[in-house]
């Protein structure tokens, strides 16, 4: 029996001067690896923000399973070379709330667990600012995993990575999906990886959308990226 985590019905969203999403209907089941694809500016991040309840739809409904815990890796981050925190301490930032300033033993263990899950053991004490693009994305991913989410959302996490690093990151994500049953929404404009990793797709275009199991994604779009 599959369980529906997110159910979107006839959802539309417009900003003051233009419509971004229109009449969108789809579901996300537990355990699914959904690839959301579409050109830049088509509304992928906007859709994510609706799911995160940061934006209200202009029309239609979105139903999120009660108590669903979402781990989110945003598209942009302010981390420059002088960013001082170690990967470990950066990951710990997601332990928020009114609690003691220092971490509990359980929290420290959790940090080590997620660091292993993303294969960053060897550099976990190094400043995040000095990490490579791929290592940074893994650290962001680890941070999003720290509060045991049911659903993990990655917004263009592979956009700036070379092909090998891209696969390395997506292999980690796929392992989380298969081994732990973590539900994934992976946003990208890279057709190649969308064919390889997700089991479902949602393709947003200027004039509408298509959705379904990955086998139904047109093969002619397999070659390279489009922007």
């Amino acid at each position: 029996m599959s369980e529906t985590l997110i159910s979107v019905e006839d959802l539309s969203l417009s900003f003051p001067n233009h419509q971004v999403l229109s009449d969108l209907t789809f579901k996300v089941q537990r355990g699914e690896f959904l690839g959301v694809i579409g050109e830049n500016g088509v509304g992928k991040t906007t859709l994510i923000r609706v799911i995160l309840n940061q934006l209200k739809p202009s029309a239609g409904r979105i139903k999120i399973k009660n108590g669903l815990k979402i781990g989110y890796v945003p598209q942009f981050r302010n981390v420059d070379v002088e960013y001082p925190l170690s990967i470990e301490d950066f990951i710990s930032l997601n332990f928020t709330g009114i609690k003691l300033p220092w971490l509990s033993r359980k929290e420290k263990q959790k940090i080590q667990t997620v660091i292993k899950q993303v294969n960053l053991e060897h550099i976990s004490k190094r400043p995040l600012g000095l990490a490579s693009g791929g290592e940074k994305q893994k650290a962001y991913l680890a941070q999003a995993l720290i509060n045991d989410p049911d659903l993990l959302i990655l917004d263009e996490s592979t956009a700036s990575l070379d092909p090998n690093t891209k696969r390395e990151l997506l292999d980690v994500v796929l392992r989380l999906n298969k081994a732990l049953g973590l539900t994934i929404i992976f946003v990208s404009h890279d057709m190649q990886v969308i064919h390889e990793y997700p089991d479902h797709f949602l393709w947003l275009t200027k004039n509408g959308y298509t959705a379904g199991p990955i086998s139904e994604l047109h093969n002619d779009s397999k070659e390279g990226e489009y922007v």
Partner: protein, 267 residues
């Protein structure tokens, strides 16, 4: 040296200030607010002048002005990050003008103004040390409770948005704490050199330490070292203490930058 009461008071107050500045400084640097901090202390100068004018202590005048203006800056700049600096410029211009006015109206001689601007250790009474201690403890207690959310908001503002952290509330609380810290620190190093304690030690620490708590401890150590050594050198030479503290912290910062560039080359 410690047989003089004013030196005891200076060391006590200086140590407190160093601790508060080291901790607050780490957030000041992470939130990219050295300019705001400097401006708050200029506003503090106006507040001190106002205090003298109406017969309060300079510290109380400073507290009043910096607290009100920190809330104003927080409210006026709102969510528009880029507007912050202009709002700060406007508010500080207004307040410094007022400071000059109050100073001239209160007919105090200019040495009063110099001691507010450049700091003075001789003038700190035991009663003021007690008040500074209370303020410092207050800042530390509030920090204790908001620590984790402030840390997330300061070191990962983008991520904090999805952690349901009330960013604008955190900002305002932080600004008020900063106003308190500035007012207290200005008693020793003076309004003009506030960043010597509230920015430089923390800015230096980030090249050596890589967790927030380690950075704080190191920033406290740098600040305490500067204050203690500066007070001692000031006592021995009769030169201004502020000069020594400023020089020590600048040398530490310079060394940190050199260390960092060497470390980066060998990486």
């Amino acid at each position: 040296m410690f047989s003089f009461e004013f030196m005891q008071n200076a060391y006590l107050a200086g140590t407190l200030i160093a601790i508060v500045s080291g901790i607050m400084g780490v957030f000041v640097v992470a939130r990219n607010m050295p300019f705001m901090t400097h401006t708050l202390s200029e506003i503090g100068f106006a507040g001190a002048a106002f205090g003298i004018f109406i017969g309060w202590t300079p510290l109380n005048g400073m507290l009043a002005f910096t607290t009100v203006s920190s809330i104003l800056v927080g409210e006026l700049s709102g969510a528009v990050e880029s507007r912050r600096e202009s709002v700060i410029s406007a508010i500080s211009g207004l307040f410094i003008g007022l400071g000059i006015l109050f100073l001239s109206l209160s007919n105090k001689n200019s040495s009063y103004a110099t001691s507010i601007l450049f700091g003075s250790v001789i003038g700190i009474s035991h009663q003021e040390v007690v008040q500074m201690a209370i303020l410092s403890v207050l800042v530390l207690v509030v920090l204790f409770f908001i620590f984790r959310n402030l840390k997330d908001d300061s070191f990962d503002a983008v991520g904090a948005k999805t952690n349901h952290i009330h960013s604008s509330l955190i900002s305002i609380i932080f600004l008020v704490l900063l106003a308190f810290s500035v007012s207290v620190a200005a008693q020793i190093v003076g309004s003009l050199l506030i960043f010597v304690l509230l920015t430089l030690p923390a800015a230096s620490s980030k090249y050596f330490a890589h967790t927030v708590i380690q950075m704080m401890l190191l920033a406290i150590a740098f600040a305490i070292f500067g204050v203690w050594f500066g007070l001692y050198l000031g006592y021995v030479t009769n030169w201004p203490v502020t000069f020594f503290i400023a020089s020590i912290e600048a040398v530490i910062y310079g060394s940190a930058l050199i260390y960092n560039s060497i470390a980066n080359k060998s990486r």
